[in-house]
């Protein structure tokens, strides 16, 4: 049995589809079978982009009224699945909401999860995902052995977003069931810390700073250089943890994945945690007093 029905957990910021969603839809569209986007909230103006990247059907939960998407979306997904539209694979983006929905759904359906992957292949009856470990020096290939649907999460920028699919993008409502105690978390305020200039995960040049800069004030140099190069400033986990810059600057396993034309690493030792987030950079310039820094 091949893959007949693939779902993608889809996200949008207002009417703008998230890049990670479009990447996953594009990949799903190459695996054979029909592709469905499952949206937290309303698809709105993003529906056209979802369809253009392969979504024949779009489920939307409707307004979540400030509740975190994990319990609500997983409940809506479970309801559709028990109603008979059962996917073979559900692809999630490796981000906050993707993880939350996937984790809740995994318990509801009693299915294992494979996360942090960068590729998926279908070989006859088996579905294989590939996951980099040890900072990307080894690639682990895993197959799902249980019942479908298989739940897999993929790092951003694992696949190319390709429009022009011209799929129908029929929008279907899929409401969440009664959440009970699990729905007890509500967002009361939203704060945005983005810097001016290009977004970190979209910039052609990224200048990353690390502990080797010496102290928090020196990070100004990183901001200045990034601005001069029309790029974005980034940071290692060490200086985010130390409170020098906000978390939204972090590049790495638990931060953003960047693939710029040039990545300039200043005072960054190249820990596994960081390498995972920038190893896809086309060119890397490392400035370090340690010649052995990776």
């Amino acid at each position: 049995m091949t893959l007949n029905n693939i779902w993608v957990f889809a996200q949008a910021d207002g009417d703008t589809a998230s890049t990670a969603t479009l990447e996953l839809l594009s990949k799903a569209n190459t695996l054979g079978g029909s592709v469905t986007a499952f949206v937290a909230g309303s698809a709105g103006g993003a529906a056209a982009a979802f369809a253009d990247h392969g979504a024949a059907k779009i489920y939307e939960t409707g307004d979540l009224a400030g509740s975190l998407p994990g319990p609500a979306v997983s409940s809506a997904m479970q309801a559709v699945i028990s109603g008979g539209d059962a996917p073979d694979v559900i692809m999630f983006p490796q981000n906050y909401e993707g993880r939350d929905v996937m984790a809740r759904l995994s318990v509801k359906l009693d299915r294992t999860v494979l996360t942090n992957s960068t590729d998926i292949t279908v070989d006859g009856d088996s579905v294989r995902v590939q996951t980099p470990i040890f900072g990307g020096s080894k690639l682990v290939n895993s197959t799902f052995t249980g019942e479908r649907p298989f739940l897999a999460a993929f790092r951003p920028k694992s696949f190319e977003a390709a429009g022009g699919a011209g799929a129908a993008g029929e929008v279907v409502s899929a409401a969440a069931g009664e959440l009970g105690a699990t729905g007890g978390a509500t967002v009361t305020a939203v704060h945005v810390e983005e810097t001016s200039g290009p977004k970190l995960d979209e910039a052609a040049v990224v200048v990353g700073g690390g502990r080797g800069l010496g102290d928090a004030e020196k990070y100004d140099m990183i901001e200045t250089l990034a601005k001069l190069l029309k790029g974005a400033p980034g940071a290692s986990r060490a200086i985010v943890d130390a409170g020098w810059v906000p978390y939204s600057y972090q590049v790495g396993q638990t931060g953003k994945v960047v693939k710029p034309t040039v990545y300039i690493a200043a005072g960054i030792s190249g820990a596994t945690q960081h390498m995972v987030g920038m190893k896809g950079s086309k060119n890397i310039i490392a400035i370090n007093k340690d010649k052995e820094a990776r």
């Binding site: 906050y96 995994s106 699990t182 704060h191 986990r237 034309t261």
Partner: protein, 255 residues
Amino acid sequence: MNVIVCVKQIPDPALPGELDPSTNTLKRDGKLILDESDSYGVEMALQLVNTAGDGSVTLVSMAPNDEVSGLRTALAMGAEKAVLVSDLALAGADALTTAKVLAGAIGRAGDFDLVIAGTESSDGYTGTVPEQIAEVLGLPSVGFAKTITVDGGTVKVDRQTEAGYDEVTCTLPAVVSVTAGVVEPRYPSFKGIMAAKGKPVDTVTAADLGIEAVSWAQQITSVDDAPAREAGEVIEDDGETFNKIVEFLDGLKVI
């Protein structure tokens, strides 16, 4: 205010990681230490109990071979007791199984208001366990907390997002996962280390928690070496090296 903290004992991340050639899973047979990313949760729990003025911090953990050295570190920081699920049948368990086992251990640990976990472990980093535990226990959850304040029957959390952070209010009991840097973990004092030796660790098997059949529906089929990146050119700074960087950037047409 009773807080349960999920902690993981992992191989020292300062040492190079190794895969067991027979199973291709991470080797965890040497000495294990407290995952640094869990020390933030332990510290946060101790501070919340201290602020509340009553209650205690209980640890739950899962590890093969009765390993307790990481638990002793957290007990030395000030946690009162621990439940350790030690069962060879759980070696290589997936995240869902881990969550079911930890949820069972939480049930055994006694009454609680809050469960705290790290957002992801430093060695396996599947990153779904806290949310899965919440679903198994039928509780609400907030992931990626950078601050936590308890206010009567609710907890207020600043939750990290891609763009900044959200303020979230959540009913108790709840599961909250914390990021590194949420608080500065204390170093265990000498007195704490001595006291930790006598603190109770309740060691149980999966069967003791009523979890009989243990299996998971994923299999590692092979491990490949990633294509190596070409070694870069090393230039020692002679005071003029910035010219070479400018030249390089110019060649790439980014300036």
